[in-house]
């Protein structure tokens, strides 16, 4: 005959208070680790006026310091395209001063961003080399516009230098336009620009126009959309670029009888993807390895905790003889203190490992200067002082004009002491 003694009370089978406390605390901590990413002020919905310059300045006013350069890049080029050159200068000057001061400047944030539990995007943004190059390029155009071709040349040289540490020698300092403009500025300053021209010619298959120092209208044309960053890899630790071919492949500017063709001289998409690996990629790779390792340790420890918890109570059956001499089978529950302690300890290790894994920030920084063009081009022409009606026409890959982008512009040639700089972009902002 089999008789079961009453099972232990539910209270006796419940995990101990310590275990419950540990579990609930760990649960809370786990969810605390899943911090949502707050909207950066750059993306915060501020009252919009519809004026990109006013809105851009409003964004800048509330932006954290780490995003300031990014917003200045964006606003600077928007101002440039909208003809607010003073604002563009102010923004690029501040951005360049900030990125120039980083060698011994605000490195604390950068140092923290290399840590396991801080995301790369927490560092002060200065941009990938192609973005920094473009800041110097645009500032160079503004210097040239102000009649300072030597300072413009300085910017082009700084820009070219920024590209000089690409991983592959083939792609070091390979901006055609920067070399060409370096030489053109020298030629305009009555110096020898032939070496720079020769370097530019080596970098391109296109036939570059010889320097015309008498050309007083310098046209800088840009079209297409620049590279987009995204985080790839299992843990988002790989910085990658999405590049879409531009529908626009060339442009022309017609002023009276003169027509200048603008074929692509430089391609920013190409520049972004030919830089090679970053040192930061290794740092993020190590973070990803740590995250994966911590996650695995957490899984193993939690499984171990479950196994140990399963062994806390063990049922034992034994035959007993009562006072009347009847024998019966009795089921007893035995509590294993060691297994209980082990279960708690393993659960804690597992949960802390999981928290550490969740808190490890592996994502590559994908903040990007998102209003850059894909192609850069240049042409120069001679025009007498005064106002000149001109037509800008963009062409697709088949050489067909894209009608909705055709624009009539007025070129104003003023002070003969300095060149007139015209910046024409397919992008409006």
């Amino acid at each position: 005959m089999t008789d079961s003694r009453p099972a232990p009370s539910s209270r006796a089978r419940r995990p101990s208070l310590v275990a419950l406390f540990a579990m609930s605390t760990a649960g809370l901590l786990t969810f605390a680790g899943c911090a949502t990413i707050p909207d950066t002020p750059a993306r915060r919905a501020a009252p919009r006026t519809g004026d990109p310059l006013i809105d851009g300045n409003a964004d800048l006013a509330v932006a954290p310091d780490k995003d300031r350069v990014l917003l200045e890049y964006r606003l600077g080029v928007t101002a440039l395209r909208m003809g607010d050159y003073e604002l563009a200068k102010a923004k690029f000057d501040d951005a360049i001063a900030r990125i120039g001061g980083l060698i011994s400047g605000p490195v604390d944030a950068a140092k923290r961003s290399r840590g396991l539990f801080t995301a790369e995007r927490e560092k002060v943004f200065i941009g990938e080399p192609y973005e920094r190059v473009m800041a110097f390029y645009y500032r160079g155009l503004l210097y040239w516009r102000d009649g300072q071709p030597d300072n413009a040349r300085a910017c082009f040289r700084s820009a070219q230098l920024l590209d000089s540490d690409a991983e592959s020698d083939t792609y070091k300092s390979d901006y055609v336009l920067l070399e060409y403009l370096d030489g053109l500025a020298s030629a305009k300053l009555a110096a020898d620009g032939s070496e720079a021209l020769a370097r530019a010619e080596k970098l391109t298959k296109n036939q570059l126009p010889p320097y015309d120092t008498e050309a007083n209208v310098l046209c800088f044309v840009e079209y297409g959309r620049g590279p987009r960053k995204y985080a790839a890899g299992e843990h988002g630790e790989l910085l990658r670029f999405r590049t879409e071919p531009s529908r626009i492949r060339s442009a022309t500017l017609t002023v009276g009888e003169q027509t200048v063709n603008f074929l692509p001289w430089d391609n920013l998409n190409f520049q972004a993807v030919t830089r090679g690996g970053r040192v930061m990629d290794h740092v993020l790779g190590n973070k990803a390895v740590f995250k994966q390792g911590a996650d695995t340790v957490g899984d193993v420890a939690l499984v171990g905790a479950a196994v140990a918890a399963d062994n806390i109570y063990k049922e034992k059956r034994r035959v007993v003889t009562d006072a009347q001499g009847r024998r019966r089978v009795v089921t007893e529950t035995e509590r294993n203190e060691g297994a209980q302690t082990a279960a708690i300890a393993l659960a804690l290790v597992g949960i802390f490992s999981k928290i550490a894994a969740a808190a490890t920030k592996t994502d590559a920084d994908v903040r990007m200067w998102d209003n850059l063009p894909q192609y850069l081009s240049f042409g120069a022409l001679r025009l007498p002082p005064g106002e000149h009606a001109a037509t800008v026409q963009f062409y697709d890959a088949n050489g067909q004009p894209v009608a909705d982008l055709t624009r009539r512009v007025t070129l104003t040639v003023g002070d003969p002491a300095k060149d007139t700089v015209v910046i024409l972009s397919e992008l409006k902002r």
Binding site: G100, G101, L102, I103, S104, G105, P106, V107, D108, A110, K111, R112, S113, R114, G115, L116, F117, E120, K123, I126, Y143, Q148, D150, N151, A152, R153, A154, C155, R157, S158, L161, L162, S164, D165, L189, A191, R278, V279, M280, V283, F290, G293, A294, V297, A301, G304, A308, N311, N336, G338, A339, T341, A342, A345, L346, L348, V349, F352, S353, A356
Partner: protein, 211 residues
């Protein structure tokens, strides 16, 4: 079973610190409250520094040039005060700079330290001066001297300079060398009567987060 449990317990306790040694310790945030405005001498290195042309370079270079110019015989032993016209400095480096600032500081140094031994012609003001003279000549404004007599002084010397640079950038860092040369040219003979130079080299390495 009890032995196994104790083993598990000890192993897990031992594994915890080993596991967390993998976590990089945080040294703490420096300057959490920011850095208050610090007044610095223009010739000292600040806590924010790049490899470009900075105020300490400007001060040291222009001090050296001013001391050098004032000692040359053409200035020190001139019978009449020589007139100098400043010509813009040529910037052949990779750093955009305010080109006037070098010559302005040399001029101010010479004016304040050379005790009137040199005179500088204010050619920046020429358009304004010519307009004023035209007003005087037309009788629209009064004149203390005959406005038809040309009194604008010509240059005895031209002072100018050139900044040239060499830059290298690798994964090991950025290196910038800037050579500052200044010269004084006789306006009549084109002879360079004085020339001097200063050179500054700087190197820096950006944080790995930016490389």
């Amino acid at each position: 079973m009890k032995t196994t449990s104790r083993f598990l317990l000890l192993a897990s306790v031992a594994a915890t610190p080993v596991f967390f040694t993998g976590c990089e310790t945080t040294q703490g945030v420096r300057n959490p409250a920011g850095v208050p405005v610090t007044e610095m001498r223009p010739d000292e290195k600040g806590f924010v520094q790049g490899t470009g042309v900075e105020s300490q370079d400007l001060v040291s270079v222009t001090d050296k040039m001013a001391r050098s110019i004032v000692g040359i015989p053409e200035i020190a032993r001139a019978q009449t005060k020589p007139s100098i016209v400043l010509e813009p400095v040529v910037n052949n480096t990779r750093f955009p700079i305010n080109k006037d600032i070098f010559l302005s500081r040399i001029r101010v140094q010479l004016n304040s330290k050379a005790a009137g031994r040199v005179g500088f012609m204010d050619r920046e003001m020429m358009k304004t001066l010519e307009r004023e003279r035209a007003l005087k000549q037309s009788g629209q404004v009064t004149a203390s001297a005959d406005p038809n007599v040309v009194e604008f002084k010509g240059a005895d010397y031209f002072l100018t300079g050139k900044l040239e640079g060499m830059s290298t950038r690798t994964t090991q860092g950025t290196s910038d060398y800037v050579l500052y040369t200044f010269r004084l040219t006789n306006a009549r003979t084109s002879e360079i009567v004085w020339e001097d130079f200063a050179e500054i080299k700087k190197q820096g390495l950006e944080d790995a987060a930016y490389r």
